[in-house]
Symmetry: C2
Subunit: 162 residues, 2 copies
């Protein structure tokens, strides 16, 4: 598809958050094995593995798993952008849908009104026909009585263009 709205308006990228998560959700593999302890986030870029702490499990499939890695941060940042974008779209869509409901409701009312009008017109004309038929039956000589369309100019011929 298209995706040219790579925002470069940037905006708020000034968050100082740091997160460490042990078992994110469902992942079956535990990065640190049974020991539920995780290494401290090491937010300070002192030096990777500089502490006397036991080295993590050192089971990274790549450097991409390194929280301190530049690549990791870049991937995270890109994903965060994508997430924001996706959520924005989602919200926009919901909003549009709601608006669509409103429009359709209006349209519906309009149509119903029109139907009412047409029905009324039709009813009037049919009544005229019926009366005419009765007059014919009662007075085949076409003398002309009330409701006789042969002697009545119809004033209900409003065009349907409302």
């Amino acid at each position: 598809m298209n995706k040219q709205l790579q925002q470069k308006i940037s905006s708020t990228d000034q968050n100082g958050v740091s997160v460490i998560q042990n078992q994110p959700h469902n992942s079956a593999f535990n990065p640190a094995g049974a020991a539920g302890l995780q290494q401290v986030p090491q937010l300070v870029p002192v030096s990777p593995g500089g502490g006397g702490k036991a080295t993590p499990p050192s089971k990274m499939k790549k450097s991409s798993m390194d929280k301190d890695s530049d690549e990791y941060r870049q991937r995270r940042e890109r994903n965060n952008l994508a997430v924001k974008k996706s959520r924005m779209r989602s919200k926009q869509k919901a909003q549009d849908t709601q608006q669509r409901v409103n429009e359709l409701k209006e349209e519906n009312e309009r149509l119903e009104a029109k139907i009412k009008l047409l029905s009324k017109e039709l009813s009037v004309l049919k009544d005229l026909f019926l009366e005419h038929a009765h007059n014919l039956a009662d007075n085949p000589a076409s003398g002309g009585g009330p409701g006789d369309i042969c002697n009545n100019n119809n004033n209900n011929s409003s065009n349907g263009s409302q």
Copy 2:
């Protein structure tokens, strides 16, 4: 492009997450400029305050801020539940709105069809009237020509009950 598959239902609260956040979102002040350091969250449940570490800022307004506190965990858990509930509702609402759109669209088509039908009926009747009027004008003696409703039994009087 459908995707109805919810992943495993499980996903119970067996997460060992720990989060440290400096300025969650909006705070305008940068955490520490280049050196984004913040105190470690004490993820290890060794013992509250047992380590020789310098006590954090000791600015907790209550024990509720303690990540190790039972009260904290309970609050978090309740909130997580509330969040799930809220999101479920939100999704349900969006779904309902979408369905409403579909229903309204159907209704609209139905109404438009009805309008078409009524309009056609009306048009036929009006034509009959017009022709009748012309006949009257051309032949005041009411001789009866083609289209003269005075001599024509209308076969188009279909009732509007469609």
